[in-house]
C-alpha cells in the first residue's frame, strides 16, 4: 500500500549488486507469513502421510472394534468407522493415495495444458484455432460428470481416477500458457534468438517456455489442491479404488451415516481441508513472490 512519491523514490539508494531472480523470489516468499505457515502445515501433512504408517501400523482395513465407536473410546483416538475400523489409521494411511493422486493428476493436466497452450500460442493460425476449440470443449463439459462417466465405465482403479481428473482440469493451464506465449513471442529477445537461427523447438522450449513459467507454476500448485478436492468428490460418490484407502474413500464409505455419526466424515474432511488450505497459501505466496507487480493486493 506504500505510495512512494517521486522524490522519495529518487532518494532510495540503488543497490549496486543485482540479486539472482530466484534468490529474490525465495526471499520474498520467506517474508510471507501466511505462505510459510502453509508450507509448514503441508510439510507436516506430507511427513505424516509418508512416514506415519510405520509409526502407526494398525491396518486401516482391519475391523478392530465395534462400529462407530466415538473418538477416544478404547484407545482409538478418532473412533471407528461403519465397519469398526480404526479411523485414525485410515486417515494416516489414506494420505499417501490422496496426495499421490493429487500430484499425478496435477502433473498430467499441467503437461496437457502446457502442450496445448504452447503450440497454440507459438504457431497461431489454424493450430491455435483447433486447439482453442478443443479447450473450449473441455470448458463446457461438466467436469465431475465426465470424470464420473470415465471411472464408472472403465473401472475405478487409481490410474483411471488420476487420468479422469487430469484430463478435465488442464484448461486453465492452457489458457495461461497461451497468453504468456502470445505476450513473450513478440519480445525482442525472442526476435533476436529467431534471427540468430534458433529452431522452433529451441524457441519454444529454451526461450519462451522458461520465461512463461512463473504463472504456470502458481497454477500447477493450485491444481494439486484442486485434484485432491476432485478425488475426494469422486470417492465420496462411491467412485474410488476399493483396494486403496484415501481420505475421500473414508467419507464415501461412511456417507449413509452422516446424521448419527458425523465424526467419521468430519475428520477426513478436515484433513483434506487443511491440505488444500496449505497448498492455497503456498500458491498465493508463490504468486506474490513471482509476480511482484501484483503484490499490493
Amino acid at each position: 500500500m506504500t505510495d512512494y512519491s517521486i522524490q522519495e523514490r529518487l532518494l532510495q539508494p540503488t543497490s549496486a549488486r543485482v540479486e539472482h531472480p530466484l534468490i529474490e523470489t525465495a526471499r520474498m516468499f520467506a517474508g510471507n507469513r501466511a505462505a510459510l505457515s502453509g508450507l509448514a502445515m503441508l510439510f507436516i501433512i506430507v511427513v505424516v502421510s509418508l512416514a506415519g504408517p510405520w509409526f502407526y501400523p494398525t491396518d486401516p482395513f482391519e475391523m478392530v472394534w465395534s462400529p462407530f465407536s466415538p473418538p477416544g473410546a478404547k484407545g482409538f483416538l478418532l473412533g471407528t468407522d461403519y465397519l469398526g475400523r480404526d479411523l485414525l489409521a485410515q486417515i494416516i494411511h489414506g494420505g499417501r493415495a490422496t496426495l499421490a493422486v493429487g500430484c499425478a493428476a496435477a502433473l498430467l493436466s499441467v503437461f496437457i495444458g502446457i502442450t496445448f497452450g504452447a503450440l497454440s500460442g507459438f504457431y497461431r493460425g489454424w493450430i491455435e484455432e483447433t486447439l482453442m476449440r478443443i479447450t473450449e470443449f473441455f470448458q463446457v463439459l461438466p467436469t465431475l460428470l465426465f470424470s464420473m462417466v470415465l471411472v464408472a465405465l472403465f473401472g475405478a482403479s487409481l490410474g483411471m481416477i488420476t487420468f479422469a481428473i487430469g484430463i478435465v482440469s488442464w484448461t486453465g493451464v492452457a489458457r495461461i500458457t497461451r497468453a504468456e506465449f502470445l505476450k513473450i513471442r513478440e519480445l525482442e529477445y525472442v526476435t533476436a534468438a529467431r534471427s540468430s537461427g534458433a529452431s522452433n523447438t529451441n524457441l519454444i522450449f529454451r526461450v519462451i517456455l522458461p520465461n512463461s513459467l512463473p504463472p504456470i507454476i502458481v497454477q500447477a500448485a493450485l491444481l494439486i489442491g484442486f485434484a485432491i478436492l476432485f478425488e475426494a468428490g469422486l470417492s465420496f460418490l462411491g467412485l474410488s479404488d476399493a483396494n486403496v484407502m484415501s481420505w475421500g474413500a473414508i467419507m464415501g464409505n461412511n456417507r449413509p451415516y452422516i446424521l448419527l455419526h458425523g465424526f467419521t466424515i468430519m475428520y477426513p474432511g478436515l484433513a483434506i481441508f487443511l491440505t488444500v488450505l496449505s497448498i492455497s497459501l503456498i500458491g498465493d505466496g508463490l504468486n506474490d513472490a513471482l509476480n511482484p507487480k501484483l503484490r499490493k493486493r
Binding site: 461438466p142 460428470l145 464420473m148 468428490g233 468430519m266 481441508f273
Partner: protein, 329 residues
C-alpha cells in the same frame, strides 16, 4: 445488428460444441464394456446367442459405426436419448423430470453467490486493510479449500441436526400435501442449505475477484474525476466504479458454470435433492449407461446456454466489446 450477428456466431459455436459432446458420448457408449443386448440378457438372467443377435439387429448394433452415429444424432435431434432399462422409461422423460430441481439449485446458488460476493468485495475494497478485507481473504481461502460436500454435511449437522432450523434433505416435505404458496415456501425452506453449500465455493471466488477489480477501478482516473466533481461516495462506487468492476465477475461467472454443475452433483447427493446429480449417481451405481450419457449431454447443454447468456450480458454491460473476443479474456 452487430449484436445479432455475434449472437448468431456464438450460437453456432455452441451447437458445434454440443455436437462434439454427442460424438464423445457415442464413442464412450461404444468403448464401454457391454451393450444393450448384454444389459437385457443380464436382466433376463441370461439369453442364448440367437436372441442376443436378434436384439443387436433390432437396435441397429450390426450396422457400420458411422451409420450408427448418424442414427444417434438423428435421434438426439428429436430429443430421443435412448431408453433406460433400469428405470423402464425413456431417458429424456427421466431427465426432464429432474431438470427443474437442478436448474433451481444452480441458478439460485449462482445469483446468491454473485450478489453476496460482489457486496463483500465492494465493502472490502473500500478499506483494503479493514476487517471486511481480511474477512474476504479468509473466506476465499476457506471456501475454496473445504470440499463442498463436506461443507454441506457440516451444515446439516449444525443447522438440521443440532439446531433443527432446516430440513435435512429432499425438496419437499412428503408427509404433508401442500399447494400454492405453502408449497413454494416449503421448497424454498428445503432449498436454503443446499443452495448455501453450493454458493459457498463461489462466494469465496466472487468476493475475492470483486475486491481485486474494485481496487483497480477505484484507483483509476475517471473515478478520481467523479470524486473531484463532488459526487457522493455512494454515486461514485455504485454508478461509476461498480459497472466496470463487474466485468471480470461476469466473465468468471460464465467460466464457472461447468464447475457449478459439478458442484451440484455433490450437493444434491448430500441433501438428496431430486435433481440430475442424484439421478446420475444412481444411474452410475446401476450401470445405466444411456441415462448417464443423457445427463452428460443435457448438463453440457445447460452450460452452453448459460455461456451464451453470460456472453450476451457481458456485451450489454460493456458496449465497448464489439468483437467476438470475449471468451479469450
Amino acid at each position: 445488428m452487430q449484436f445479432l450477428a455475434i449472437t448468431l456466431k456464438r450460437c453456432s459455436l455452441g451447437l458445434g460444441l454440443l455436437l462434439a459432446v454427442l460424438v464423445l458420448n457415442f464413442l464412450l457408449m461404444h468403448l464401454a464394456p457391454g451393450d444393450v443386448a448384454d444389459t437385457i440378457a443380464q436382466d433376463a438372467g441370461g439369453l442364448d446367442a440367437e436372441v442376443m443377435a436378434q436384439i443387436r439387429r433390432d437396435y441397429g448394433l450390426d450396422l457400420p459405426l458411422w451409420e450408427q452415429m448418424l442414427k444417434y444424432f438423428y435421434n438426439v435431434a428429436q430429443l430421443d436419448l435412448g431408453y433406460s432399462f433400469y428405470y423402464n422409461q425413456p431417458v429424456t422423460t427421466l431427465i426432464l423430470e429432474k431438470l427443474p430441481a437442478t436448474l433451481l439449485l444452480i441458478i439460485s446458488a449462482q445469483v446468491v453467490s454473485i450478489l453476496v460476493g460482489v457486496v463483500l468485495g465492494v465493502i472490502a475494497a473500500r478499506k483494503p486493510n479493514g476487517v471486511a478485507s481480511h474477512f474476504v481473504t479468509i473466506l476465499s481461502l476457506v471456501g475454496y479449500a473445504a470440499p463442498v460436500f463436506w461443507t454441506g454435511i457440516m451444515l446439516i449437522i449444525l443447522f438440521a441436526s443440532m439446531i433443527p432450523l432446516f430440513p435435512i434433505g429432499n425438496m419437499v416435505d412428503v408427509s404433508v400435501e401442500r399447494t400454492g404458496f405453502a408449497y413454494v415456501a416449503d421448497v424454498l425452506h428445503h432449498l436454503v442449505l443446499p443452495m448455501l453449500t453450493l454458493a459457498s465455493i463461489f462466494i469465496a471466488l466472487y468476493s475475492r475477484l470483486a475486491r481485486a477489480s474494485m481496487l483497480d477501478v477505484l484507483g483509476s482516473d475517471y473515478v478520481r474525476t467523479a470524486q473531484a466533481k463532488g459526487l457522493s461516495e455512494f454515486q461514485v462506487v455504485f454508478k461509476h466504479a461498480l459497472r466496470n468492476a463487474l466485468l471480470p465477475v461476469v466473465t468468471t461467472a460464465g467460466l464457472v458454470f461447468s464447475g457449478i454443475v459439478s458442484g451440484a452433483v455433490l450437493v444434491e447427493t448430500v441433501f438428496s435433492w431430486p435433481g440430475l446429480g442424484t439421478l446420475a449417481v444412481q444411474a452410475i451405481v446401476a450401470r445405466d449407461t444411456p441415462t448417464i450419457l443423457g445427463i452428460l449431454f443435457f448438463s453440457s447443454l445447460v452450460v452452453v446456454v448459460a455461456n451464451l447468456l453470460t456472453d450476451m450480458l457481458y456485451r450489454i454491460i460493456d458496449p465497448r466489446i464489439k468483437t467476438a473476443e470475449t471468451s479469450e479474456i
